[in-house]
């Protein structure tokens, strides 16, 4: 069969399986075959295959539809909620709330606290999301 992938295309897979062949255009098949035998044809192959939207970016020789149940997928987009309050109470306000109370509340959100970093203005808690190992790195971020 044809080459499994082309390094120069940066992840554009060349589909080699006969069962997947029908997803490809005749043009793609033709130029792919030439890429397997001639490096000079590589550039041509790239432009041809990336013109098929679902081919671009796929790094394995599997049809994109088969990638959907990917157990390793993680939704990186973050949900952000900010709420500020008026009130009448201790000057510490929400900072008087114990860690255990936040831990309990965060169960509803499917997060858990992994560390607590207080300073004079704010209590910062690092959380671990549901179904994800902690990326044990952080960057210093200064807000003016």
């Amino acid at each position: 069969m044809m080459t499994a992938s082309n390094a120069e295309t940066g992840g554009v897979a060349i589909y080699g399986s006969a069962t997947l062949m029908h997803h490809m255009t005749a043009t793609t098949v033709t130029t792919t075959t030439s890429a397997a035998t001639s490096t000079s044809a590589t550039t041509t192959t790239t432009s041809t295959t990336t013109s098929t939207a679902w081919v671009a970016g796929v790094k394995s020789s599997v049809h994109p539809a088969a990638l959907l149940p990917d157990p390793g997928f993680f939704e990186g987009a973050e949900k952000l909620l900010e709420i500020s309050f008026y009130g009448n109470g201790s000057a510490d306000g929400l900072r008087a709330v114990k860690r255990s109370v936040w831990e309990d509340a965060l169960k509803l959100v499917r997060c858990e606290i992994v560390s607590h970093l207080p300073n004079e203005h704010v209590d910062a808690y690092v959380l671990r999301c549901a179904g994800r190992r902690q990326i044990a790195r952080s960057i210093e971020f200064r807000v003016f």
């Binding site: 909620l81 709420i83 306000g93 959380l127 902690q134």
Partner: protein, 151 residues
């Protein structure tokens, strides 16, 4: 007051607790809005009975089908927020067929100032400094040794 904070920003989720403000940021399939009622209850126990400002935002999800309701769609999320903050409004910024941001904002007026404040208590209000948020999104991170790979 000088509002200059230096906090370590984790790569993922975090909770920031100020005297009159909470910022909660979560990723993955977390159920952020399931925690709103508890958050309001915790604040009320601290004497913070009046919401001043609500801001909910997220980028469009890559795979919304994996989310737990109401996070499966911004319409559902908006409905959940409007039940609690009926004066709020939902906005979407950006390309609806590409990258876009979903934002819900509610601004509520301050409550009437009480005639007397109990001993040991203080009137609490959110700070009035303009709020600016900088979000940096990274893609295709290389894997950390021994850690989960970025996506």
């Amino acid at each position: 007051m000088d509002f200059c904070y230096s906090v370590p920003l984790p790569s993922e989720s975090s909770l920031f607790v100020f005297p009159t403000k909470v910022i909660l940021k979560t990723c993955g399939t977390t159920t952020l809005l399931h925690g709103v009622d508890r958050l309001l209850a915790i604040a009320a126990e601290c004497g913070l009975n009046h919401v001043a400002h609500v801001f909910y935002s997220r980028k469009n999800f890559l795979e919304p089908r994996r989310q737990v309701q109401p996070h499966g769609s911004f319409k559902q999320e908006t409905r959940t927020l409007l039940e609690r903050f009926p004066t709020g409004g939902a906005h979407i910024f950006g390309n609806l067929t590409g990258d876009h941001w979903c934002v819900f904002v509610a601004e509520l007026p301050p409550p009437a100032v009480p005639a007397t404040v109990a001993t040991g208590k203080a009137l609490l209000a959110p700070h009035t400094q303009p709020d600016h948020t900088l979000e940096v999104r990274l893609r295709a991170l290389t894997a950390f040794p021994g850690g989960a790979s970025g996506r």
